[in-house]
Every structure is written in C-alpha cells, then in structure tokens.
Amino acid sequence: MGVLSLRQGLHLAAILGLLGAAAFPPYWMFVTSLTPSAALFADRARLLPTLSEAAAYREVFRTIPVATWLVNSAIVATGTTVLSIALAILPAYALSRFRFRGKGIFGFALFATQMLPEAMLVVPLYGIFAQMSLLDSLIGLILANTAFTVPVITWILKGAIDGIPIEVEEAARIDGCSRIDIVLAVVVPLVAPTLAAAAVIAFFHGWNEYVFAQTLVSSEALRTASVGLAGFVGELSTPVHSVMAVSVIYTLPAVIFYLFVQRYVVSGMTAGSVKG
C-alpha cells in the first residue's frame, strides 16, 4: 500500500477538486462575514476568516431584524411541512395500493404541477387571497407553499409504500382494523425514514421560498429571511460582511438540518424518482 498509483492519485485529486468547488461559495460566505470591511476592499483578499471579528454576528442581530425574519421563515417552513404531510399521506397510499378509474390522470396532474412557475400563479393567487383575507399573513404563505410541496411528497411517499409487503397490512385487516387505522398505525411507522425525508424537503421549500413571500406579504413584521436578505441586493448601505453574516445565519440551519437527515432524503428521493 503506502504509495498511491498514478490513477488513484488522479482520482483523489479530481475528488478534492470537486469538493473544493462545491464547498467554496459557502466557505467564502463565512470568510467574508468574518472579515473587517477595510480588509474586504484591500489589495489582497484574506482567504481565512478573522475569528476576532465574531462580534460582527452580535452586531447583525442588533442592527437588522434577523431574529424576526428567521422566526417567520421557521413558522412558514414548519406549517408547510405539517400541512403537506397531512395532505399527502392518504393519496400516496391510494396511488400505491388501489387501482381505480382516473388514477393515471391524477398521477399526471401531480407531475404537471412541477411545471407551474410560482411567478405565474402569484397574480391569480393574489386575487383569491385578497377575497379570503389571507394576504399579509403567514397562514397564506403556508397555504400557497403547500400547494407546491404536496405533489412531490405524495410521489416520494408512494414510492416508499410500494416497498412495503401487502401481507403486513392483511394481518391488521383480519383483526378488523379500518383502512385509515391501517394507514396510520401500520403503514406510517414503516415509512418513517421516508417521512423524515419528505418533511425535510417540505421544510426546505418553505424555508427557501421567495416569490410568494415577496408578493403576498407586505408588512415588515411578517417578512421572511428570504425576502429580508433579497432586500440587500442593490442596496449599498449595509456592509458586505453584515450581508454575508445574515446569509450564513440563514443558510446554516438548512444545511445542518439537511446533513442530519441526508441519508433518508437521498433514499426517499431515489425511491420516488428512480422507480418513477
């Protein structure tokens, strides 16, 4: 062992290059957030974070309503997650276990929702929400986002339910459980890992979403982090390192959360997509 062959060396070099390219922008976000303003505009770039600058983060929370933004984003993301999963479980079960007239159409309709841009639906939705007094409310954002996550999650859960042997349910059936009982008591626990993946995907969508949050909400108290952060584009009064600090604070929960359940997300995504 000890000495790498040329091929292994090239292979490792390629992988390191790939990881460097993937990790550099988040790293640069972090370095910039911990670099004093003067150094950002000096002749030479600092490639390492200046850890003594950590106070900049406290400063950001003092001068920018980051905490409010994050709480709003968390509310929207959590609401979207809960509502999407509640709505997706039953159709996922039905698509997996029943044959019925209209199944193909419903399946295609789920797929077709992937083609609708938020920017296109935002105008009619604005009108609908105005009539229902859902404008300028986080509930409205949750409702709008859920429409976009339900199809994906239904598909992923269907893939997972396909993998459960029918015999497991038959035993419960003989014991006289109703269909809904079976789904909740037998099927849901068995697809728990995929459910975790689906929850993360829905959470992400709510946490990251920008168009609806920008258009359907107007009051500052209900601003989400995506909209707050987007407000820095083209405005020059906030120092670059503060903007990057907010970006880090906003990105970190998403990435950490994702790494945490990464394994399940990957298996859930691929169960849903590869088997299609």
Binding site: P25, F98, E118, A119, S226, L229
Partner: protein
C-alpha cells in the same frame, strides 16, 4: 392486485384522494385556469378586475416582436446548458464517488451541500464573488494575469448568462449526482467483471455495461432539470433581473417583468402559457422517447 386482496369499498380510493385533489384544484388548478383566461384579455395590474377580451392578440403581439424571439432563444440556451452541464458534472461526480476511497462517506455528504443552500443566499454570495473590483473571481483572474479582471460578469452582456449558468449548475449538479449515484448501485457486478476480463478498457465498460443501466435515470433527470430550468426565478431575478439588455431574460423573468414592471397581466399570462406549453411539449418528447427505448429493449 392489491385491492382484490384487501377489499375496501369502491369509493375508498376517491375518499383518500379527495382532500389533496380538492386542495390542488383550488390552489393550482383554479389559478391556472384564471391565468389561461387572462392570457386572452387585456388586463392591467392597476385594475385587475377589468378584463377586455382580445382573443389571441397577446400571443400575436409577443411573437411579432424580436425581443420575445430573444427571450425564447435565451430560455432555450439556458435550459439546454443547465441540462447538459448539470448532468455532465453530476455524472462525473457520481462516477468518482462510486469507487471506494478513504473518506468516501464524508465526500458524498459534502458534495450535496450546494443543493441544500437557499437560492437567495446563493445569489447574494455569487453577486459578491462576481464583483468587478473586489470579487474573488476578478482578483483571481488579475493575480493569474489571464484577464484584466476588472469587469463585473453580471454587467457584461456576453458574460452574464455564463455567470448565471455557473451559479445554477453549482446549485443543482449535486442533485443529479445523488440520483445517478443511486442508479449506479443497480449496475451488475458480474457484467462489469466479465467485460473487464474480456479486456475492455474503462470507456468501453462504461458504454457497454454502466450506461445502459443508468440511461433511464439520466433521461428522467434531464426532464426534471428542463422543467425546473423553465421555471427558475429567484436566482436569475436577484442576480441580473434578466439584464443586461435581456441577456438573461428567460420566459419566467419576462413574465414577471410584464406583470410587475409593465403592469400588463394579459401579456404576462400569455408568456406564462407559452412557457407551460414548452414544458408540456418537453414532457411529451420524453414519454415518446422512453416508450421507444422500452420497445427497442423488448426486441433485443
């Protein structure tokens, strides 16, 4: 199959479908129909309740302008490049990460980080990296003496689209690599070993054994990346607003400009419908292709 062994009433599947179907009809179906209707009317953002029926005028007017031809061209270019580059890079990454090496699990995890980053934050860090004077890209180019490195890529009509593409591909190639990596688990070890024993080089092994196994997955990925690229908004809007001089003006950006900059909801809806038609056409092409591929395999 299943339903014969687990009899429920004939209504059960419909009861199970009803809540989600109703929800989607209300929040997506109905707005879509309204948008379709709007595309045949002249409607202003300032009085969204007053529609004047104009038939196909919005579509006719759009196709009559060279600006819109440019939008279609940019959309095609952006979408095709997203598909080719993301799948190319994703496939390369997947093949690299499929072999065993020390730290493989960590590497597989790290590669997926870009996909987890919120697009708004990604747009902001890239805007900073593309900065003409102080951005890391310009600084690097200057240090290497390759270019003067004083232009902001996002302000240059010929560099803005490549800059947007670089950001997009960075964000979505991990997804492609994760999906392809999963498909690679299905490649038969025996076939691979047999090919190697027959003296095939790596490229022929890939073409003869690996590629046929992962091809359906790659085709499905291509469809999804196409559809997502046709609707991607936040990354492009925040970085360039479709500029400079329309260099990054894709259909969705144009839709947003028509609605909120020119305040013409009818025209915006027509742009949206054209985009939707494009996505549907791509889906049909995909289904025709997969059916043909299945038939071809059946005759082998």
């Amino acid at each position: 199959m299943a339903d014969e062994r687990l009899h429920g009433s004939a209504w059960t599947p419909y009861l199970f479908m009803a809540p989600a179907a109703g929800y989607l009809l209300f929040f997506q179906g109905y707005p879509l129909i309204e948008e379709l209707y709007l595309s045949f009317t002249s409607t202003s953002l300032l009085s969204p309740r007053d529609h004047t029926w104009v038939g196909l005028d919005n579509y006719r007017d759009l196709f009559a302008t060279s600006d819109f031809h440019h939008v279609l061209w940019i959309t095609a270019l952006y979408t095709a490049a997203c598909v080719v580059l993301s799948i190319g890079l994703g496939l390369t990454a997947a093949l690299l990460l499929d072999e065993s090496f020390p730290g493989r699990a960590i590497a597989r995890t790290l590669v997926t980080i870009p996909w987890a980053a919120p697009p708004v934050a990604v747009a902001l860090v890239y805007i900073w990296m593309y900065n003409a004077q102080y951005g890391i890209f310009s600084r690097t180019l200057r240090a290497l003496g390759i270019a003067s490195g004083t232009e902001n890529w996002l302000d240059d009509p010929s560099l803005a689209l490549p800059a947007i593409l670089l950001t997009t591909v960075w964000q979505i190639f991990p997804f492609a690599s994760v999906v392809i990596l999963a498909a690679l688990q299905g490649v038969s070890k025996e076939q691979r070993e047999a090919a190697v024993i027959d003296g095939a080089d790596r490229l022929s092994v890939f073409a003869a054994v690996v590629w046929p196994t992962i091809r359906p997955t790659v085709a499905l990925l291509a469809l999804f990346i196409t559809i997502w690229s046709l609707r991607r908004f936040d990354l492009i809007w925040l970085m360039t607003q479709g500029g400079p001089i329309g260099a990054t003006n894709t259909l969705v950006i144009e839709l947003y400009r028509q609605a909120f900059v020119y305040r013409d909801l009818g025209r915006a809806a027509a742009v949206g419908m054209i985009g939707l038609g494009t996505a549907l056409a791509m889906t049909l092409v995909y289904f025709r292709y997969t059916q043909r591929a299945e038939r071809a395999q059946g005759n082998d």
